[in-house]
Subunit: 565 residues, 2 copies
């Protein structure tokens, strides 16, 4: 099968999708950016999935037709006029394309549906609020009229979190509500509107001396894979975690305070760094995924931007168990956490070495000579940040612990390769999809003592659906546990088959003691498992808050968080 | 006035209180332990407060009479019998002494009342539940009969948090529910019943190899001043912070999961180290001060016990502003946090130097020579913990930053002196009280940019009540802010005068933008300010949770957290 490497590359779609097509909605990232699978990667995939050469000769549904759905808006003329008057000219739309675009996320299910031209769960009207006052008027009016209110941030939800399955309106936060509201260098905080996108947020902080008159450069420390196409508000309301969360914290940790507009009123939580004043409303609202109200401002912690202090590292472990044990020891070492750590299982390691061009290199031959064999060896990459002496000490401890667990130091080269692709890998998804190969992910958090059971249980389920590739890694670390991230590739393009398979993975995660989500959120996808996962008593607490803040169930209704049916 | 130093020491009470006396309830700590103010300290206090020598010739109310209150239990015979049958023989009491003891905390108001023989707010019956099942039966029965349920942990509340002002029953958790339930070295967690006291908890962890068969020794990292006489459950439900919280985290941070018995059912929150599954019920319950249910088990994070890695330090700053600026820079330095940091204002510094015997020493003369003058200089003490290289790097950075702000390094001596008295200083309170001198504290958290306003505003109010000593320090640090802790001493023993004065300090804290509490909790003392502090909308969220979990308002009713009237 190695001959595939020499074969002509498939005829990847390499032009930006035409405006108003289905593809322009589901294509990842910038319309004119592409990252096609390289030959090594494609060879392994073809080999593992037993794909015939003919597989890459013709594409399936590519979604290049214009959107047309002819689902009429169900809003009354009077209600629509009132809402239009609130946001003003040019800030509302009833068009099919807008209604579809702003209710679609980036879940594989979304994509399969759009490729097939299936449209449902549209809002009746799209609104682009200009400020908090607009949001207050919209929520107040919709509360009175019992019109559902959905919120669209960056659109990168992979949990069906954006579906407007009860109609109503969706609020697009990125159009206007993307401004900085305050910068406080003394307190190390920044306050922004929720629609500010990742790159704008990070650029502002990196260039704080020039743009904000600050004494230093800063970083938000939050870099999810969707960083370029997700919003600060989205990070907060879905509890995202960036690739450097082990050091900087996840969105839950990064939030200092929030302001929400709810049917029960507008409020801003307190800014104290710590308090003993009862249960923290700031924490009750985090992760509420639009079901309790609309986030209109958020104050976040910021950190010094000192890339010159970063210390990269990469190591190879002889096997998964020694790699996991080492990462646990690192996480419990009390020398501070690396910002980035990623331990790949043997399957991901082997594929990664091919993607990074390390497979069959001199380095690879040396690794094999040292006993690091394909099918067993596990790649561990990472980075330490923070103050210079701190970062140096973290890396020193990481290397010492890894060595005690039999690891071989690989220089920083594989880490640099990973960093190069860290935000662009999702571009490959469309290419594979075009030829009927599905690539998707699910993830979970887990305590250390249950990691191997979860790993085995979920992979066993996934592997029953051969031919399939399942790459697994842990990438977010805590003294008490970590996450497991499952990436699966299979020749599969039937929505029903995919849904059944994918829901089966969620079931396997829950059955084997993983959390329903480590950092993707719940949305409508994981919603049906919530009551079983948390228990009836705890779900009813979340519902009690919901009933209080949103008695008419207008805020993101229809299954998100499992709050309603 | 320096002559006072040579005067004979006052005739401090130096015998354990007799059983069943008021004094046996309010005396701090162990009945047979004492720590009398030393001559240097007493001289400064007398000088500052303008006390005549005659002040220490005769004591006031010392509370040495036996408790006798003759307030009948209002429970019906039938209800009392049912409750007695639940907990079994010897696990209930209707006695005056027990009812008073288990509804009294250690607030100055509690003490002044007991010294005056004032008794009110008693429970009708004291229960000592044996396990979760007992608690479930009690809560279920009391819910049905609308009998108030209070909870008593270690009894160190300084917020009137233990008053049973609606009668009913109080549950004493320390009698039986003080056991370890699980120890998980892989996950670095321990699960205990809430009534386990600080020293038992810490001893178990320190001796984990011998007592639990562990590979290492551990620490809970939580050392409030009340450590010896407070319970793990109390730390959690009131959101306490230990003296080392800047590194280990406060009780909010230390909790992994909790199990609660509520009128709406029993539930245990999830153990995942991080999740993106909506608002976290674990966090909704933390700090609920008994108003949402009874904590019956808690899983806490644990840390390696490696005192050999501790690095102590002490420095003197020329003034408060430079000291504050340095602690801010340390807290934002991103080299990890020291475990202990305490910057004392000039008034506390001067008194502390006398208490520690440094005043007028060779060191003191050298400090003055270096420009560190009494009335301006500020003592900064602390400690770094964690992995050896980490602790070393923290101390190195602390010293460098402090030097840049004009500090003089003092060796670790003052820090050692502070550590020696860190848990025993409260014993001096009774001695001073016996002679009509009140010593009390209030504390608040604050963002860095508001620290000086809060400091000035509160101290200005306090200083209006001359003669008075007000020592102030910051001792819990975060990148976004810190706390301020106000300790005041005054000749004052009238309850009404004291209450008015003390409530005025709370008002001054709120008016100047401090939080209502950094780590003492809310209780009934701060309760009346809660709605103003959080705003109506946020209070109503806390009330919505209350109404759901405890629809009959039987859980710690009567003003705690400001939830009810």
């Amino acid at each position: 099968m190695k001959d595939n490497k020499k074969a002509t590359a498939p005829d990847w779609v390499n032009i930006p999708p035409a405006p108003h097509t289905f593809r322009s909605i589901f294509k990842w990232g910038a319309p004119d950016e592409f990252k096609h699978p390289n030959a090594g990667f494609l060879a392994v995939v073809s080999d593992a999935l037993g794909l015939a050469d003919s597989r890459f000769q013709a594409t399936g549904d590519t979604g290049e037709e214009p959107v047309s759905c002819e689902i009429p808006s169900r809003l009354s003329r009077g209600d629509a006029d009132t809402l239009a008057a609130i946001v003003g000219e040019e800030n509302f739309s009833f068009g099919d394309y807008d209604r579809l675009k702003y209710s679609t996320g980036k879940a594989m299910e979304d994509i399969l549906k759009l490729r097939a031209g299936m449209v449902d769960n549209l809002p009746d009207m799209v609104l682009h609020p200009r400020d908090q006052s607009d949001v207050e008027k919209i929520v107040s009016f919709c509360h009175e009229k019992k019109i559902p209110v959905y919120v669209y941030g960056g659109g990168s939800s992979v949990t069906l979190g954006l579906e407007c399955n009860h109609g109503g309106v969706t609020l697009v936060m990125g159009t206007h509500m993307n401004r900085m509201l305050a910068f406080n260098e003394v307190n190390r905080t920044i306050t922004v509107e929720p629609g500010m996108m990742g790159p704008a947020y990070e650029d502002l902080l990196n260039n704080a001396p020039e743009q904000l008159g600050a004494a230093h450069r800063y970083t938000g420390g939050h870099f999810p894979q969707s960083f370029e196409f997700s919003s600060v508000g989205g990070w907060v309301v879905t509890l995202g975690a960036g690739q450097a969360s082990s050091y900087y914290g996840d969105a839950y940790d990064l939030v200092v305070s929030q302001k929400y507009v709810t049917p029960a009123g507008t409020f801003k939580t307190l800014d104290y760094p710590a308090t003993a004043t009862g249960p923290k409303v700031n924490d009750i609202m985090k992760g509420s995924e639009g079901c309790y109200g609309v986030l209109v401002a958020v104050t976040m912690k910021i950190f010094r931007y000192r890339p010159e202090n970063s210390r990269l590292f990469a190591l190879m472990f002889p096997d998964w168990e020694s790699g996991v044990n080492a990462t646990r020891e690192i996480s419990q070492g009390e020398f501070g956490m690396p910002s980035i750590m990623r331990i790949s299982d043997p399957e991901e390691t082997d594929l990664g070495l091919k993607m990074y061009g390390i497979d069959d290199s001199l380095l690879d031959r040396f690794m094999r000579f040292k006993g690091m064999q394909p099918g067993s060896r596990c790649l561990f990459i990472g980075q330490a940040d923070g103050e210079k002496g701190f970062a140096r000490n973290v890396k020193k401890n990481v290397k010492q612990i890894a060595a005690r667990h039999g690891a071989m130091y690989l220089t920083a080269y594989p880490m640099k390769k990973w960093m190069h692709g860290r935000f662009s890998d999702p571009y490959m998804r469309e290419d594979l999809n075009d030829f009927g190969i599905l690539i998707d992910t699910l993830e979970s958090s887990v305590t250390w003592d249950n990691l191997h059971q979860l790993y085995q249980g979920v992979r066993t389920y996934i592997k029953q659906h051969a031919p399939i590739i399942c790459m697994t890694h842990a990438s977010h670390f805590y003294p008490q546990g970590t996450n497991l991230y499952f990436i699966f590739l299979a020749p599969m393009n039937d929505l029903t088959v995919f849904r059944k398979f994918q829901r089966g993975i969620i079931e396997a995660i829950v059955q084997h003691g993983g959390s329903l989500s480590h950092h993707h959120g719940v949305g409508r996808m994981m919603g049906p498992w919530m009551e079983r996962h948390l228990g009836k008593e705890q779900m009813n607490i979340l519902r009690a808050v919901k009933d209080h803040l949103d008695p008419h169930d207008i805020m993101n209704p229809g299954g998100t968080l499992g709050l309603d049916g």
